[in-house]
Symmetry: C2
């Protein structure tokens, strides 16, 4: 049989000739073309080589290859406001239409006023009220339909494009590159699990079951025809931020990632937890230092402070001390968006 | 290029000849040899054919092929007591050794007495105290190590075998058959998620991230060397029973299964939820009616009543009305365990 197999492959080469050689050279083209050849790209390719080459002392069996990605600021733009918050604010008029008594109640009144300054000043508690009113109380299917519709027509004010186009091309390449090498890619986001699941498969190639996020409970009941359905409850089950990220990873994945990618203080524990495992583990932070092509905020390295996606100097120092890779958007990324020329 | 491909396959057949034909007939051998040719087996193979044949009106794309399985009583023996409860009772002496003050406190005192009758009469609240004391308070890794060790030496009193050998061979075949046909198989168990994850990959071929179960929270902290770890908390996050099953499926998987398998009242909502989806969906209940080869309990069809794995007559009637398949262990399964001759 073995000689059959050899003969078989010899014939394949003979028959396909140039095509087979073309395929081979294609396999060797750069899988990360939007990354500049710098320390970040080098760390990634080295890590993948070390953990996927049979016989390497750091080889990781395919079943254990888990990579986790924060979303906001790591896979797509989070400035000037998390996309999901934009969604929630946009939904307020619909919610008030259904419950007119809310029109004169704060924080809904402020949102309806359209006064951007006042909206930006809403407290965390006010935001939570808006989130609860717009993300819960409907069936799972209704919510999915509402988000799908919104994503279709909503446009980012700076680029005038659908939010789902504001994903970082280098990270999309990285997701594919890891999957090509047997890694199972997960999103581990502080954003809403149900929100991100609506588009993650189409946009990132990540199926719903590989999206871990802040999650509310649901309750099971029956409609008038006896058909069961799930309603989204305002009861928080998992706050998938900070320590909630490793806790969420344990709950939903049940094993420690080999690679983790984030961009802010909320990702610190996920990266610590990842690096604390045996063998070769990769931890990387995206630093937004490119005001021209995207945004620049930090306040690490003296960048302007930001409430959205804070990357404190202390986090930068920890990354340095712990051997986490800091990806400097400005110098490490050749191209940021797929729509750029 | 197209003619190349045809030529290529023609040559493959020419070269491999008899071997290729051997492989083809191998692919047609029965994937479910431990099932008798009856309505249950027929329903399964028909369902798989309908949902995986391109062009079939009920075709389901591979990404959507989700199948969920209850564990206790569906994939392995649950009588006379859930295996995880046996584990918890076995752990009580260790817990008391670490905290001697518990020796004279109920329910620990009763468990230590070894009085089987008294232990069997413990209330649900007492059991919850034992579960909390033996399943929480340690790190995730410690717990995994303890369960692994226990599974290695513990023996079932009837068959004198490791509990992991008391899995149903027909169901193991079914798991493989579904996976072979592009289905992603999940466990959705009322048992502890962390407990089942310890052996699910080895025993069922189901990785940790595909085990949904009753789950407590964890908390993230650091040891004396600054190394982070997760501690299992006594705080219940998900009670994965009854309505908790579809709720757990939404939380952990995020899409509705196409096939669901259970054996008791605790699986009712999972099966209802599965069948309520569009297209062809399969719901199946395992009925334990074979006292000789396994156990007989119900109380459907006049079988003896049981607190463990109750299959009430009302559930049987619902199954009948809703078109769920009832798998009668006695007549549908040719062989129950792999260790049988």
């Amino acid at each position: 049989m073995k000689s059959y197999v050899r003969l078989f492959f010899a014939l394949v080469l003979l028959i396909l000739g140039g095509d087979a050689i073309g395929t081979l050279s294609l396999a060797q083209t750069d899988p990360l073309p939007s990354w500049n050849d710098g320390p970040a790209k080098q760390a990634i390719t080295q890590f993948v080589q070390m953990t996927t080459t049979r016989g390497s002392p750091k080889f990781v069996p395919e079943a254990d290859r888990i990579a986790t990605f924060d979303q906001d600021g790591t896979l797509w733009v989070e400035q000037p406001m998390y996309t999901q918050v934009v969604y929630c604010l946009d939904r307020v008029p619909v919610v008030v239409k259904a419950k007119p008594e809310l029109a004169n109640v704060e924080p809904f009144k402020t949102v309806l006023s359209g006064n951007h300054e006042a909206i930006a000043k809403l407290s965390k508690d006010d935001l939570l009220k808006i989130l609860a009113a717009t993300l819960t109380g409907m069936s799972v299917e209704q919510f999915q339909a509402e988000v799908t519709k919104w994503l279709h027509h909503a446009r980012d004010p700076r680029w005038k494009r659908p939010y789902t186009e504001l994903t970082y091309l280098p990270m999309i390449e990285l997701l594919k590159y890891l999957r090509m090498n047997g890694y199972k890619t997960y999103i581990v986001t502080g954003g809403g699990q149900d929100f991100v699941r609506v588009y993650a498969e189409e946009v990132y190639g990540i199926p719903p079951e590989q999206v871990v996020g802040t999650a509310s409970g649901t309750s099971y009941s029956y409609d008038n025809n006896g058909r069961p359905f799930l309603t989204k409850d305002p009861k928080l089950l998992l706050n998938d931020n900070n320590a909630g990220k490793p806790e969420g990873i344990h709950l939903m994945i049940g094993r420690r990632p080999y690679a983790a990618f984030g961009n802010s203080t909320g990702d610190r524990q996920m990266l610590e937890y990842t690096k604390a495992g045996d063998g070769d583990r990769l931890a990387m932070l995206v630093l937004h230092d490119d005001a021209k092509r995207e945004y620049a905020y930090g306040p690490a390295l003296g960048l302007p402070d930001s409430k959205v996606g804070t990357f404190a100097q202390a986090l930068y120092d920890e990354a340095d001390k712990q051997g986490w890779i800091v990806n400097h958007m400005k110098s490490d990324w050749k191209r940021i968006f797929a729509f750029e020329n």
